[in-house]
Symmetry: C2
Subunit: 449 residues, 2 copies
């Protein structure tokens, strides 16, 4: 074993699957994106596999074109609360935007999910690219990438102050004396910053895991710096092992430069596993899904992502030789570069590129047997490219069930994955300690042996 | 029967009860405000009684002094989502502020709760009084009462546009053609108003009941006008039958002036029932709770509500002869007047007034047997003071269980309350029709017979 240890596995849930055409398969319920029972079933499958966590992406806008694929998105903190009631152990990671929320409201909603779930909440911090989102929030233009990240940093700073605004022993509950809480053990943030002023304490105490796990998924220069400073888990997209290794080394190094223990930043590349009893069966599923793509939808989205007019792209030609540089993109910067590199490296036509992106939108798609998938994951882990993986089943629930029932047992046999939950909180699953309260950790008494 | 028909009953849940000293009783769990199982138990008790709905109040701030009573408040849309999973029929009404939220986010969260619960959501629209709330949201001063209500009106207008932004048949789900939704049946609000600009459609379709039931609880002049225009259910506080009748008549009249059917505005005064096997047993519980009040906490709150310095109030003297008028109060206007009138009418000392307010904060407290409570409710209903009641158990769960198991059967025997749920949605429980989609109701085709 070239690298000891176990993987961390997250199930990234998305309606009837990550592949844009999954809903067209005979097995798929096209209304499942609005059916809480569908998601409860997925959560129970993931928990059956002892996965660390579930994850929901989010945008405050109609995602994509409604013709293309199921477009209903239940708000993630609401949906995960419903899933908390259907599960016992699995972590619950919701995406929410720092650009279009208020810290007091959002910190409180995550604290609520964290308390209701017994310490299983995580927050995937996003700054939300896209003019269409901005236009739903009183803005005529998308705030610049750098501004969004500066705002995000202050937002997280305030959120931590709010989550830590009650000392762990603030609740006295002295019925005899008639004293419920000790006002002296409440620490109002009294925050006055560039973007936010938040005076008062949160109206909730700390949770079983102290506070929600901070997750991040941006891989641009701004995104990497942000992740290095704040993130405890990172979702990322890579098409090749060297790219993933570069990112892994870079982010661990940046975390160390911030004075953090690099082992407390768990890096999980996304993978879209197409699992078959044989490799050719897996490839057949991949081909079937690709046939069901309607490329005219994807063309519009690809043009938007690359910052060009749809008319500049031709389905049966390669990408144009000249495209806007990453610096000029205010949206998903690193995803743009990944896609351009993929198209150029493999000399794909736009149609072929769309086919490759249809499953994972830039994440690694891998078709094979359960053993081949397990081998791939273990290889990336041993090669220092990942601490675990973000499992993006192309079709749900079948793709998640196949992963849990076929791949997970192989990883367990190899000692690469837990066979039972040993902790109760999300932090415990990811091997992260319960953080000290930032308000009291530096009190003189806390420095005594 | 002087007035035919049945009552509507809502269970207003609050930690271990509405009485500020309830947590000090031996039976009370002082950590229950943070325990989702406590609330699931309450929800199941209320559903056992076939009540129309549950209701949670909310403020984005530490409510009251932490010494006084349990001060943790799980965010209501999160908590009600958890309760949706523990119940089958009962409606779920969450309070949320129009002053400190964005319409796209909040409309979406209520739509999510509404879909997850199968059409059981209601929104208690509040404008949030209090400088301490304002200071958690980048403000140095509380926005004026009138401004808050103007903002609230536009907020609700935008929310309705968002909830109606998908036609009921917008989801085509045509697998063969590869068309999931019909873009032509999506109606982006394109709203540009005084306070809000919201361009795009919600990323969720309408729910089983069309959209959440709109609830309101302000009884000031601004509050009554707002309720008359928007509210489908109104929570209100009255100490006397004539006051309740005046409010009832006034609000129904105002609703009619807005061109609405007054029967589609359900008026539910709050009542704090203290139920005993005998009247003296009920009064003993009342007296025990009153003994457990620590008046120094309440004095501060009362002074704040009346707009005076705490030093101006003396526990064993009546209210000062001169107090700020309702017009000068920017917070809870009508509650201030109710309390001043109560103190003056009954010539109470501040200590006595605090005792009277300790249970219901201005709502009617009534101690008696189950028959006496049922008589009181029926009398108010028959006297044209109420369409139903907001049941504020002083102690939870015991006070709600007593109401459900002792008072509800009496009302059922008298034909005044349902013996089984006959509908599935909150609108059906309240006898409100599913609203037509405002985007399509006026289309030419909809005017054809």
């Amino acid at each position: 074993m070239t690298r000891p240890g176990q993987l961390h596995l997250n199930a990234f849930l998305m309606s009837v699957g990550h592949h844009e055409a999954a809903w067209r398969l005979p097995e798929s319920d096209p209304y499942a994106d609005l059916n809480v029972e569908h998601f409860k079933n997925l959560a129970r499958i993931a928990e059956r596999g002892k996965l660390d966590s579930l994850f929901l992406a989010d945008v405050p806008v109609i995602f994509d074109q409604v013709g293309r694929r199921p477009s209903g998105i239940l708000e993630p903190t609401v949906l995960l609360t419903a899933l908390a009631g259907a599960t016992q152990h699995i972590g619950l990671i919701a995406t929410a935007s720092t650009t279009y929320n208020e810290p007091y409201n959002l910190a409180r909603r995550f604290a609520s999910l964290d308390i209701v779930s017994g310490g299983r909440a995580g927050w995937n911090i996003v700054t939300t690219a896209g003019l269409d989102s901005a236009r739903n929030f009183n803005l005529d233009a998308l705030p610049a990438h750098r501004d969004r990240y500066e705002r995000a940093a202050e937002f997280v700073d305030v959120s931590v102050k709010l989550w830590d605004s009650w000392d762990d022993d603030a609740i006295v509950a002295d019925k005899e004396a008639g004293v419920w809480g000790d006002q002296d053990r409440i620490y109002p943030p009294a925050h006055k910053g560039r973007y936010y002023s938040v005076a008062g304490a949160l109206n909730l105490p700390r949770s079983a895991q102290g506070r929600p796990v901070l997750v991040q998924a941006g891989s641009s220069e701004n995104g990497r710096n942000f992740a290095a400073k704040y993130a405890e888990a990172v979702f990322t997209a890579h098409q090749t092992l060297p790219d993933a290794q570069e990112f892994y080394d870079d982010l661990k190094r940046r975390a160390a430069e911030h004075g953090r223990d690099p082992d407390r930043v768990k890096i999980l590349p996304g993978i879209v596993p197409l699992i078959g009893a044989t490799e050719s069966e897996a490839r057949e599923l991949e081909a079937e899904l690709e046939r069901l793509i309607r490329p005219e939808y994807a063309l519009t989205q690809l043009a938007d992502l690359l910052g060009v007019d749809p008319g500049e792209l031709s389905l049966d030609a390669p990408l144009p030789a000249s495209l806007p540089e990453e610096e000029q993109i205010e949206g998903a910067k690193s995803r743009r570069t990944l896609i351009v590199n993929l198209g150029r490296r493999e000399n794909l036509t736009v149609r072929e590129l769309i086919g490759r992106l249809g499953g994972g939108r830039g994440h690694l798609t891998f078709a094979g047997t359960a053993v081949q998938v397990a081998d791939k994951l273990e290889h990336w882990f041993e090669s220092g490219a990942a601490d675990g993986f973000n499992i993006m089943a192309p079709v749900l629930p079948s793709g998640l069930a196949a992963f849990v029932d076929q791949v997970v047992p192989i990883l367990q046999e190899r000692g690469r994955f837990r066979t039972a939950y040993t902790g109760q909180t999300l932090r415990e699953h990811y091997g992260l300690p319960r953080p000290a309260n930032t308000n009291t950790a530096n009190r003189p008494t806390a420095l005594l042996p």
